[in-house]
């Protein structure tokens, strides 16, 4: 095996080892991780599973919960937006109520309904460990903005690609040629 191939193999092995460790840590954290303790007056993001497991600890705390909202509904008479997040794997249901919705100033009900992820700051009340009722004090919808930026980002990359006349086929050709040359040198 020549040296460039060994280098590439080492890079791939490093990456694979890193990802394996990360996934192992992720599984351990999700199942046995401790509840966050450093609040510092700022919201801390928790998973539905962690929120359920440490419901008593987290009640009244400022947390950010990443959820995919379902059953989004708006009650005009009370100016309250409500939605539900369900973690099907662990059987957890989280009902979130956002009072004074019309004053949020950022998003419409449709924005929230079409969001795949949603950060909710301020879990103020936890009913039971598996059925959580929370009051949101701040909501950030992500999906719409994120997809806009991804489409815009790819468009910008395409423009730059054209602008600099970068030809990836040439790069690949160089890589192949360099590899074959190094192989020849090794043989020699």
């Amino acid at each position: 095996m020549d040296r460039p191939t060994k280098t590439r193999l080492a890079k791939v092995i490093f990456f694979a080892g890193f990802v394996a460790c990360i996934l192992a840590i992720g599984v351990w954290n999700a199942n046995y991780g401790n509840a966050p303790t450093k609040w510092d007056g700022k919201p801390y993001t928790v998973s539905p599973l962690m929120l359920s497991r440490y419901a008593a600890t987290l009640e009244g705390k400022q947390v950010a919960l990443v959820v995919a909202p379902r059953d989004v509904s708006y009650n005009a008479s009370t100016d309250t937006l409500s939605f539900v997040d369900v973690d099907t794997t662990h059987g957890i249901s989280i009902s979130i109520i956002y009072p004074n919705w019309s004053k949020n100033g950022l998003y419409t009900v449709n924005d929230i309904a079409s969001s795949a992820q949603l950060a909710v700051e301020g879990i103020s009340h936890v009913a039971t460990s598996n059925t959580i009722v929370a009051t949101a004090v701040h909501v950030v919808g992500e999906e719409t903005v994120y997809w806009c930026s991804i489409v815009g980002g790819f468009a910008m990359l395409a423009v730059l690609f054209w602008y600099f006349r970068l030809d990836l086929r040439r790069l690949r050709f160089v890589l192949k040629a360099r590899h074959s040359q190094e192989g020849e040198e090794t043989h020699a």
Binding site: P4, N29, S47, V145, Y146, S149, L157, L160, L166
Partner: protein, 209 residues
């Protein structure tokens, strides 16, 4: 999560400031969105409502890609698919007297990908910690907010509007240089005059004769 536009604009501005050639700039820009590439898993899993994948796969991958060690790991993987050196360090890098000293480094896709990735982390750290914040030292340390400035909420275009004037200035600079080169050298696209005298790929021995 400043969006991709913000990350790419910052990369472009830095690339213009350092007078990076096109190839180098491409890798810098690729690096500047590299930590977010794994988010496609999260979006797909969320779309299919696969909670297991979100909890055990996409969340750990996303957290790890937004760390120094993760940036290095992902850059190592991506660099496998490209040449180890681009052969453009002697052309347009604006590194002053340090150019010769650092030529071996700034010419490498691996370095540019890591550089772009660190720019990504820096920009992400200005926001309120969304999805756990940016754990720069993950998995060595998971202390929350260690590098978060908490300046603004994600999910808005505030960062884009702040960066846009600088990006516009960078584009104007690039176009002005392009026009100057075109009028003096007759080239129809940005190209440093030194490229004419720089060695071709074949001369550098990258292609066997």
């Amino acid at each position: 999560m400043p969006d991709w536009l913000a990350h790419l604009m910052l990369g472009f501005i830095i690339g213009t400031a350092l007078r990076m050639p096109g190839k180098n700039r491409f890798f810098l820009l690729l690096g500047s969105i590299m930590p977010d590439l794994v988010r496609f898993f999260g979006i797909a899993f969320t779309y299919f409502n696969w909670s297991f994948g979100i909890t055990y796969l996409s969340n750990p991958l996303n957290t790890s890609s937004h760390s120094v060690l993760g940036v290095l790991a992902y850059a190592l993987l991506l660099s496998v698919f490209f040449p180890s050196t681009l052969g453009t360090a002697s052309t347009t890098w604006n590194l002053g007297g340090a150019r010769d000293k650092w030529r071996w480094l700034v010419d490498r896709p691996l370095f540019l990908l890591v550089f772009g990735g660190l720019l990504h982390l820096l920009l992400d750290s200005i926001m309120w910690p969304y999805a756990g914040g940016i754990d720069w030292l993950y998995p060595l340390s998971t202390a929350p907010f260690i590098w978060s400035f908490g300046l603004m909420w994600p999910g808005t275009f505030v960062v884009d509007w702040i960066l846009f004037p600088f990006f516009l200035a960078a584009v104007i600079v690039e176009l002005a240089l392009w026009e100057r080169r075109r009028s003096s050298g007759g080239k129809s696209f940005p190209q440093n005059p030194k490229w004419k005298s720089s060695k071709s790929i074949k001369d550098q021995g990258l292609i066997g004769s």
